[in-house]
Symmetry: C2
């Protein structure tokens, strides 16, 4: 006998029609997928552990809509399941300033991650599942199961075609993340028409190859029992599960099964016949029968609120039983670092030896790794180059492999930069103050552009340990030497882009990156050794930019970053011999500097002083802070690092020559600070 | 009985040792993969159709080293097979300015594509296979088989982990590209150690799921016959083939099978024992026994040169038999467009109606598609949005699907932007003047950053039709609205980044992009309608920037792009009412403008005139041409396009206000053109 009755079917129809009404009201949006996916949504959400009054509850189940364009479905669910989402909000679907934007946005209660760019959501979900497994392995104790939640995902063909989902899914299979259950909306339709124009692979077989459990629900349009049965079976698996759900896009619509229902509102007539078909009044919109509210209230909301209460009590008992761990959990849930953690950060003096900044980064990570259990690090298969693995770290691995366990905090991401970026976003979105970091070469952070952008947009404070940050990497040549990379990332809003010049600046970069709760950071680090600079300090560098070395009445300021700062210091000596007085400014992070007071910024770059920037990367973007720029607006070259620097004249003499020309150029001219702008 | 003898084994050892000697001489590089892959390289290259004296021969077989770090192997092969690569060149491996850089570079004879960034090579190879299939289907006639070449690929675990290779491989399976044969170096090692730390999926099963033929050679280290047998079997398949080749990384070395031989030179002792093991003098380096030269000369080089001769004769006969097609082939091989093709390009006057620039792009493509058979277009599943499919185009599809055929010139890429980018590079690298273009939303070109960068670095003139180019796309919201995107791409050397303002500028963008043989282009196009502007013309717009509307003695210049140019024109009217005289400059492409004479550039942006830039994207990079910038240095918002423009004040009044402040700011100040620089 079915566990589902007419009231369940009414609920499914309600979800469907609420979604259709939103799209019609906006005259914009995607009605097709919600119509096909409502039954699965009903089955999943009805049994989910959630508390709409406390959407941040750490032991909630999570639901990720990887096909984010189907957001009218998600908003309908949020309304029906008691979240802060009114019928009025639904009526303002896709309106400017509404709580129902065109794709789900992370800051809305009940929205677990921002989705829309395809392939990201499923990859975020892998990150959430990793975080849950780590949290559980770290804190659960017999009789104190603090964490046992699931992550559910909806994804469509588009998500499956994107490489980022392939990367993340392959890793999820390796990691045997049994807390991850994904529903693949097998509706055979994409924007270009029938999926067979571009995609006839055997998805189930591919996911089996990744090591996933794969199930199939043949009638996703109607068969609630089959969906429920698959869900129960998935929970029994010791692996992540993909449930292939064969559905009809736009189910019930006159154009059901065609791509015309994918991304455009249904015609008025169509909406009417749909309502009649589902037993609703065709003249009414945004209708929720009281029985449906009652159903979900009883099935899900009340039990969820109760479960949250019991969990709170469990946590209190846990704190009593395991005071140290309990305090740590409470601290992490409050989003605070342990008191005095910064004392672990190293500082340097000019007497200390020259060290590659990737190595300096390793020292920071080594020093704080034990103090900050929320650090969950890794590398995209460049561990010995990125130096991202803290001494004594345990790998995050399924215990069965014998290579580590789930309490381990070092992830072997494989050569999967984009997947790593999206997974880090998911780890961060899980909560519990998780701070993911991941290593690769700076040039290959670009492979993950799609995920980096979403970190910034959503405010996930993930950290990229981006080593080999210039032509200084040498022989690997132009395919590996970043040129445009920092210009690209500096143009992304809400993103720190650090390029520290020495030990103190590396410490500053991590200090700011870790302290900030809503801004991701890319830390660009050198392969080659860098001297510890006279004039640098953590206190100054956390400002993002500061006067490293000064002179009375400078003839010019040379502003630089990373490996070129030390060369600029040498250039100042060459200039001094010619009686040209140069102020040296180090500007390790534009974003942090931009947050300082105008007064402070002007003290660094005042009117009257010509400014020359020096950075061995594209000059684009530098005129925000400089009048003249010495950079590399061409691709690099393969050769020994110092030889390549020499070739492009990034030497004390090469800088001094350009500085001289800069001084000459501005002689007798009025020099306005680039910080003084018209509006 | 084996077809291979001692001389073959000597040749394999020679390849191995030449690679090891290169890495040792450079004291930098990757000896491991060449040692494992030399036997397969020997078997493949020995039977390849190639002419080292004419590396551009269109009917050559192609070899792509997707694991580009193994380039010492490729350079050894190029030397042994008679290409312009001397022993002296090998001795300068990884030296600045040498012909043997740290990763293979496209411009070197015999190097088919630039590789190194993992996952790209195999995806490029898919593009080459597409181009070959198209070329053959278009021009082959009974008894005139102009094109029947294969593309061979080496790839490693790293390439297989990258999402871009998943995208391209899935599409290759769908397209049934039987001319593509890939050898997967199953050596179980990556930089992080044993592959099982991150990658235990069943690769063979995955490729079967994609629709590939999958074969396995169990002993890739020694078993030349098994390799050869697999190769022959692959040629019989009607699908692309993946040959899993189990090898030992660093075969023969004391550390064979460990990751220590992956990316660092072998120790001197190790090299010596290796030479002894292979029967070479341990005290000598860069040794090639004459028998090995003789072997390859006889097996491959002489037959290849002869085959090229016969092919030349075949083409001559073809021209006689099929004069029109023959002339077309000759024209394409010469890399020239048909005389007068530009006459098909549309022009507009201000009386023509306002049209979205994506639609204007469609008109251009429609107009030239039949004239230019080298155009091979497509979209990443956004055909109805990108408007990339010319009327009457046939889809490039395996005939068996009934959806098109191989002579079709429209590719359904699926939601695979990165794969599309890499495939386009491969299509271009195939030769025959192929001009691939691909559509997606501008924001999602970023997913393909890794491939875009390689287009620019290698000089593949691919075209991105990048629609929905700003917040003007409206309701889809900030996940789809580009902000940093143009700043990113403008910072890449050798890349045109067009953002045309009207019909004439769209024509200019295509004209320049198509005419240029070594520079890729991104053409950013609006979703919303744009007016045909007074003052625009194709002749002016091809310069990349020009004065659209002028006044006598301007108080300021407003420079803008795309959809904002029309608004700036309206702003000028608002300003005129306040007696502020504004010159309006349209700057559709920084790259083309930068190639004009300094004199011309200064005529647009002279000293003495303050310049305000207006573009509804990140301001970063604009100070190259402007003193003040009005842009959007934050993420966008979901809402109707016009409402979002209003919100951010990109209106005539919003621009006029900032223009007024700009004029005010510079009153009494000396204004130097940003084009006048110190060096």
């Amino acid at each position: 006998m079915s566990q589902y009755t007419d009231i369940d079917r009414l609920a499914v129809s309600t979800i469907r029609l609420l979604a259709v009404d939103q799209v019609s009201a906006a005259n914009s949006g995607h009605p097709g997928a919600p119509l096909g996916l409502a039954p699965a949504a009903h089955v999943i959400w009805k049994q989910m552990r959630l508390n709409p009054k406390n959407p941040e509850w750490i032991n909630r189940d999570r639901f990720v809509l990887s096909n984010g364009h189907a957001c009218a479905l998600l908003y309908s669910l949020l309304h029906l399941f008691g979240y802060d989402m009114s019928i009025e909000d639904l009526k303002h679907f896709r309106h400017l300033g509404s709580k129902t934007p065109g794709h789900p946005e992370f800051e809305l209660p009940g929205v677990e991650v921002t989705t829309g760019p395809l392939g990201q959501g499923i990859s975020n979900a892998v990150g959430m599942a990793i975080a849950q497994a780590n949290f559980a392995a770290t804190y659960n104790k017999p009789d104190y199961e603090l964490s046992d939640s699931y992550t559910y995902v909806f994804l469509g063909d588009g998500c499956l075609q994107e490489g980022v989902s392939s990367e993340a899914s392959s890793l999820a299979g390796h990691l045997r993340l049994k807390n991850l259950i994904a529903f693949y909306d097998d509706n055979q339709i994409t924007i270009d028409g029938n999926i067979n124009v571009s995609f006839d692979e055997d998805v189930s077989k591919r996911y089996e190859a990744y090591g996933w459990e794969v199930l199939h629900v043949e009638n996703g349009n109607d068969d609630l029992d089959a969906i429920s049965k698959a869900l129960e079976q998935a929970k029994l698996s010791d692996r992540p599960t993909l449930i292939k759900l064969t559905t009809t896009i736009g189910f019930g619509s006159l154009n059901a099964g065609s791509h015309s229902v994918h991304g455009a509102p249904l015609k008025a007539d169509d909406v009417k016949q749909l309502k009649v078909k589902f037993g609703f009044n065709p003249e009414e919109s945004f209708v929720v029968p009281q029985e449906v509210y009652d159903l979900y209230n009883k099935s899900t909301i009340e039990p969820g609120i109760e479960a949250n209460k019991q969990w709170d009590a469990l946590l209190d008992a846990y704190v009593g039983q395991f005071p140290e761990l309990g305090a740590e959990v409470k601290r992490r849930l409050a989003g605070e670092f342990p008191e005095g953690w910064e004392s672990k950060l190293p500082t340097y003096t000019p007497e200390d030896s020259a060290v590659a900044s990737r190595k300096l980064s390793e020292i920071v990570l080594d020093n704080v790794f034990d103090t900050l259990p929320e650090l969950l690090g890794g590398s995209a298969d460049l561990t010995p180059s990125n130096l991202t693995r803290s001494k004594g770290a345990v790998d995050f691995q399924p215990p069965i492999t014998g290579l580590g366990d789930y309490s381990g905090r070092y992830i072997r991401y494989g050569v999967r930069e984009h997947g790593m970026g999206a997974i880090m976003n998911g780890i961060s979105a899980f909560g519990a103050n998780y701070r993911p970091y991941g290593g690769t070469f700076l040039n290959f952070v670009s492979y993950a552009s799609g995920a980096v952008r979403l970190s910034a947009l959503s405010g996930h404070p993930v950290i990229w340990v981006a080593t080999h940050d210039s032509i200084g990497l040498g022989e690997d040549g132009p395919t590996h030497q970043p040129i445009e990379t920092l210009a690209h990332f500096r143009a992304i809003p809400n993103l720190q882009v650090w390029r520290p010049a020495d030990g103190n600046e590396v410490t500053a970069a991590y200090k700011v990156a870790l302290t900030n709760k809503h801004t991701p950071a890319i830390i660009a680090l050198s392969r080659q050794n860098l001297p510890q600079l006279q004039g640098s300090s953590v206190e100054k560098a956390v400002k993002g930019g500061y006067i490293l070395q000064d002179v009375d009445q400078p003839d010019l300021a040379i502003v630089s970053t990373g490996s070129e700062v030390g060369i600029a210091v040498e250039a100042a000596k060459v200039l001094a011999e010619k009686n040209i007085k140069a102020r040296i400014v180090s500007l390790p992070d534009f974003h942090s500097f931009g947050q300082q007071s105008k007064e402070y910024q002007l003290s660094v770059f005042p009117d009257g002083v010509p400014i020359l920037s020096v950075e061995v990367l594209a000059t684009s973007g530098w005129s925000k802070y400089a009048h003249q720029s010495f950079g590399l607006d061409r691709f690099g070259a393969s050769g020994k690092g110092p030889a390549v620097y020499e070739k492009f004249e990034f030497t004390p003499q090469g800088i001094a020559t350009r500085a001289e020309k800069t001084v000459e150029f501005y002689k007798g001219k009025q020099v306005i600070s680039p910080l003084n702008t018209a509006f």
